[in-house]
């Protein structure tokens, strides 16, 4: 029986975590990048291992520590070897037609994207050689076959996700955040398990790719996707002198000053590490890179309430935790409301229509009832 078969649990049995690989990723912070002099020999050694003893051994070298360094990237063939080793370790079909592509943007650090066995993907950080994510497309397809069965238990899913992240070299400062049962594709249920990347206990917030997230098929218990994103540099200071209530007041006042709010409502307020983007500044939004310096801020979300009381826009403010300055945020579009609020939007419309019809009917009903009561009373009085 293969490891993948062991994980299948159509009868609702506890699915098993992936097999323990011979390696363990070296614990360390994702944002701590290696120095050139310290890791060039490791890179050479890894290449030698690939040539000499094959792919699994290469993965051992990779996981023992970062391969490359800033300004000294790994090569495409290194990324291929790393992806092949990960696939072997986690029992993901690899095949012979793998391709590798170097991708570079501003928001995410340069990385190699390795495509293999149809649509499976492994992403490898170009500087460190660390695997930052993979998609096991075979596991995704298998989810279709077993989607009718009961979902695996939450604790089981978290255990599986945790073991995969550890195999990828999970940093010590990842803190478990949540496991949510969702069905993002074709209503196939999946456990989305998330870990926050933290610095001195404060989570990062980049609006999406921060910390780690693992997609575990709720039907099979197999890991469909895992990502461990590289966080920006830690903030220079974590000192906080603005309270949550003060941060909310600052955001509300700022929004009103910008003419954004009628009656306002704060939806959430959290202390997080953010990258200032100047969204609300006079100069307008500034591009954010993966290495843009960070600050500790109160992240305040508000709803802009329209004249009729319907939420119109969601507004986000980063209020500097040290001096109270608004250092960034975002704004959603008109009618861009959270799913619950969206439902509210639709419901409000329906209710308004219903009220339009029901009010005259209700009034008529009350009148008839009253008239009936008067008649009955009159009859009774007459009978006496």
């Amino acid at each position: 029986m293969t490891a993948s078969q062991q994980q299948r649990s159509p009868g609702g049995e506890a699915a098993k975590p992936p097999p323990s690989c011979a390696y363990r990723g070296r614990p360390g912070s994702l944002q701590r990048r290696s120095t050139a002099s310290a890791h060039v020999p490791l890179r050479r050694r890894a290449r030698g291992v690939v040539l000499a003893v094959g792919l699994v051994a290469a993965w051992l070298s990779v996981c023992a520590g970062p391969l490359g360094a800033a300004g000294d990237e790994i090569a495409g063939e290194d990324a291929l070897a790393i992806a092949a080793s990960l696939a072997a370790c986690l029992d993901i079909p690899f095949g012979e037609d793998a391709s590798v592509l170097r991708k570079e943007g501003d928001f995410l650090p340069p990385e190699f994207e390795v495509k293999f066995h149809g649509f499976s993907t492994t992403r490898v950080d170009a500087a460190s050689g660390r695997v930052t994510g993979f998609v096991n497309h075979s596991a995704f397809l298998e989810s279709y076959a077993l989607m009718e069965g009961p979902p695996i238990a939450e604790a089981n899913a978290i255990e599986i996700a945790d073991s995969v992240l550890r195999a990828m070299g999970m940093p010590e400062d990842l803190v478990f955040k949540s496991a949510t049962l969702k069905a993002p594709i074709d209503d196939i249920p999946a456990w989305i398990c998330k870990w926050d990347q933290t610095w001195e206990g404060i989570p990062y917030d980049r609006g999406g790719p921060e910390g780690a997230q693992v997609w575990v098929s709720a039907a099979t218990g197999k890991v469909v996707s895992a990502a461990m994103h590289q966080s920006p540099p830690p903030p220079a200071s974590t000192e906080v002198s603005i309270s949550e209530a003060e941060a909310v007041d600052i955001a509300l006042a700022f929004a009103q000053q910008r003419g954004r709010l009628f009656p306002a409502r704060a939806v959430s307020a959290e202390l997080k590490i953010v990258q200032p983007n100047g969204y609300w500044s006079d100069a307008g939004p500034q591009p954010v890179r993966y290495d843009t310096p960070t600050r500790v801020a109160g992240v305040i979300q508000l709803f802009d309430i329209g004249e009729t009381g319907r939420p119109q826009r969601a507004l986000l403010f980063y209020v500097d935790a040290l001096d109270g300055a608004v250092i960034g945020g975002a704004e959603s579009g008109a009618g861009c409301t959270a799913s619950g609020i969206s439902t509210y939007h639709a419901k409000a419309r329906r209710l308004a229509r219903r009220a339009f019809l029901l009010l005259p009917l209700a009034t008529l009903g009350i009148l008839i009832t009253c008239a009936g009561a008067v008649l009955v009373r009159a009859r009774r009085t007459g009978a006496r």
Partner: protein, 273 residues
């Protein structure tokens, strides 16, 4: 090409061919790692073959599809799609120009459709509901980045604190009516991405477009970098002959966003015939 063709005694797939109008447009042969297909036919392993070619038939051309398959046990199967198909590869791409981020995202959609041999002219901006509704019948691919709720979407022209203007909102009932106005030669929707808030909270808007292949957001959508990365990665993967599901997974993995909603997970959007 679906798994239900095969029985348990057929073994695995050795070779497949796809023919369009009597011409072989795709073939693939395996010499090892033969793909398995589910013998009971419950799962369609459509990933086996990608009918991709650079040939594009003129819109309205009648198309006949035939598939041929050889198994490792030397059995041979062929089948012709009994439905009538017409070449129709036109995509409408729009964006609310309120944010540069949104226009950029629509640009990824346009690049994808162009790469998939769809006729698409420009990224439409500042369109009224009437303009969008009059366009809907005549396209087979649709993308818009802009405003939205769970039951409709809009280009823009929002003024702070005021109502969502009716002349800008395309309601799901209006989408239905527009799709129903397609002529017999205008193909049904192949793929729709409503890159607007709450568009995938339910399947209401997907159903309104009458498509099996749909992507939307389950909740808020922001004009921010993670969303740009998601849309960029999604279309890049789709353009690399991915399915809607595999491309959405790639985008989820790269962007960290987990509240998308996709239908047609094993479906190829490429229709280059």
């Amino acid at each position: 090409m679906r798994g239900k063709w095969l029985s348990g005694s057929d073994g695995s797939v050795k070779k497949v061919e796809l023919w369009v109008n009597g011409v072989r447009r795709y073939q693939k042969t395996w010499t090892s790692n033969y793909p398995d297909m589910y013998p009971d036919g419950e799962v369609c392993q459509s990933w086996l073959a990608t009918p991709y070619s650079t040939t594009q038939f003129s819109n309205g051309t009648t198309l006949t599809f035939k598939a041929k398959l050889w198994t490792t046990n030397d059995n041979y199967y062929e089948g012709t799609d009994p439905r009538t198909h017409y070449a129709w590869n036109r995509a409408w791409v729009g964006a609310c120009p309120e944010y540069d981020n949104w226009v950029t995202r629509a640009g990824y959609a346009r690049s994808f459709f162009l790469g998939a041999n769809h006729t698409t002219t420009t990224v439409h901006t500042s369109k009224t509901a009437a303009q969008i509704e009059s366009a809907i019948p005549h396209y087979s691919g649709f993308h818009i980045t802009g405003h939205g709720t769970g039951d409709g979407f809009a280009d823009c022209l929002y003024r702070s604190g005021q109502e969502y203007p009716d002349e800008r909102e395309v309601d799901h009932t209006e989408i239905c009516a527009a799709v129903a106005a397609k002529s017999s030669t205008e193909c049904q929707y192949n793929f729709v991405f409503l890159d607007t808030c709450a568009s995938g909270t339910t399947d209401l808007l997907k159903s309104a477009f009458g498509t099996q292949s749909f992507l939307g957001w389950d909740g808020l959508m922001w004009p921010s970098e993670p969303y740009r990365v998601f849309v960029q990665t999604f279309y890049s993967s789709l353009g690399n002959q991915g399915t809607v599901g595999s491309s959405a997974l790639d985008a989820y993995n790269a962007s960290g966003l987990d509240h998308f909603a996709a239908w047609g997970g094993t479906y190829y959007v490429h229709r280059t015939y």
